[in-house]
Symmetry: C2
Subunit: 277 residues, 2 copies
């Protein structure tokens, strides 16, 4: 990286397997309103949550290479599965800072828990990776962690059933063992899950604090930019494209979903061939 002068007005690269990472982009927009964002959603190969470490790492590496061509100053892996499987390898391969959503979520949960029993709901891949356990145990060996994969949550969110008796019933089945386990903190370990926040909160009850890694990740990104002297000094003027969106397939559907969760309308998402990166 060749000096702050050229870089502090560069955008933040944010990527996810699809639309889920938009919940992280949304938090960055709220907490860092001066920052430009280049978002990439891998809609041609979504979902990552049921795929292997090798495949998720290969896909994530291609995306990082694409984001590098967009001159981003930092990258956020706004996908728990990519953060779990690919982040450590990619950190060693590129010069710009990369942060994921797992460490910020784990740190926030550690700060919140009183009885040292933390639950994690996530995709199969994230749960199988054991990464939340690893980060949490590195910081506090006395914490008990209970993970639960919830494979139907993503399709239910994508079908729009954010509050629905069917979603209640599926959530009840997935979460009952976590309720019984006596956790006081639950990490929403997949970027789609904040959309099910009220359903999950209702089932878990008042005694359980829900941690949204999207919020924590935006906070850590802010600290990172300050630390490295990379924050944008002022809000880009009118006429500057603040947020740009790229996908690997089917931009229409992405735009519809994005417009339902983002505070700003997306004018357009551009389709690129991610295999070339």
């Amino acid at each position: 990286m060749s000096g702050q002068v050229e870089w502090h007005n560069s955008p933040i690269g944010v990527f996810d397997s699809g639309v889920g990472g938009l919940t992280v982009a949304r938090e960055i927009m709220r907490q860092l309103p001066n920052e430009r964002i280049v978002y990439f959603g891998d809609t041609a190969r979504v979902p990552y949550g049921s795929k292997s470490k090798e495949t998720v790492t290969k896909f994530s590496r291609q995306i990082v290479h694409f984001l590098e061509t967009q001159q981003v100053k930092a990258i956020v892996a706004a996908c728990n599965t990519a953060s779990a499987y690919a982040l450590e390898e990619l950190e060693n391969e590129v010069d710009i800072p990369i942060i994921g959503v797992v460490k910020p979520g784990a740190r926030a949960a550690l700060a919140v828990t009183k009885n040292k029993k933390i639950g994690v709901v996530a995709t199969e891949a994230t749960i199988n990776s054991g990464i939340y356990n690893r980060y949490i145990e590195e910081n506090d060996k006395n914490v008990r962690i209970m993970g639960k994969a919830c494979p139907l949550f993503v399709p239910l969110v994508e079908e729009g059933l954010w509050e629905d008796p069917v979603t209640d019933e599926i959530a009840r089945r997935y979460l009952m063992e976590l309720v019984d386990s006596g956790i006081d903190t639950l990490i929403l370990g997949c970027t789609h899950y904040p959309m099910l926040r009220s359903t999950v909160a209702k089932i878990m009850g008042n005694g359980v604090t829900l941690v949204n890694p999207a919020y924590e990740t935006a906070r850590e990104l802010k600290a990172l930019l300050v630390d490295k002297g990379l924050e944008s000094e002022h809000r880009p003027g009118l006429g500057t494209e603040l947020y740009r969106f790229f996908v690997s397939d089917a931009a229409d559907k992405f735009q519809r979903f994005a417009n339902s969760i983002l505070p700003y309308g997306i004018l357009s998402a551009k389709v690129i061939n991610i295999d070339e990166f």
Copy 2:
């Protein structure tokens, strides 16, 4: 193709976006017990049902190229989305015969319907392609076709909820308009859906005949092989590998699912890098 003598003992290539096409492979095993099969499931990029025509065609072309390296004598696109989006283009690109699941399903429905009202349940991509409508209308302009996308059916099947109150409720919501429309025939237009046959049958009632394109496709494949003199003359002997399975990712999960629906245990599925084809 250089003469029947070399080809009639070659395997049939069968492909799908993932595990769904195994329902078609199963029918081929039943109806054509002398035939060897090379199956490819694109588990790294599954599902296809929410992706664009361009992407599905590109993925299908790579798979056809891979199957050619396996010296197959015919190819079955055991995926409604691939059949809908990619088949016509690929038919023109390769020398070996390729059949899909859409035409056989459409033909069977035409043979069954009495009131000339046919329903189709399928993925978003298959419904949006309008391909069932096109095939059916080409044969009979007086038939009315009602299509309905059921995006949660595939994740429900993959989660194992084949018979479950939640699946009943979701199916009821998806199917109610088809019940009200007075169709007498319903095409199960996605290879996962035969696993929900009893749920769908219960909701549609006795007056509606369910068409399983997997069954019809195996019948058409048989006719095609006979027509071209390509049938295997006898069951391959012991020691011959009758069925081989390849996937683009995560062979374990594929094997578990395959073993739950196939009459034969799968000894192993090999992971290949499909991007190279």
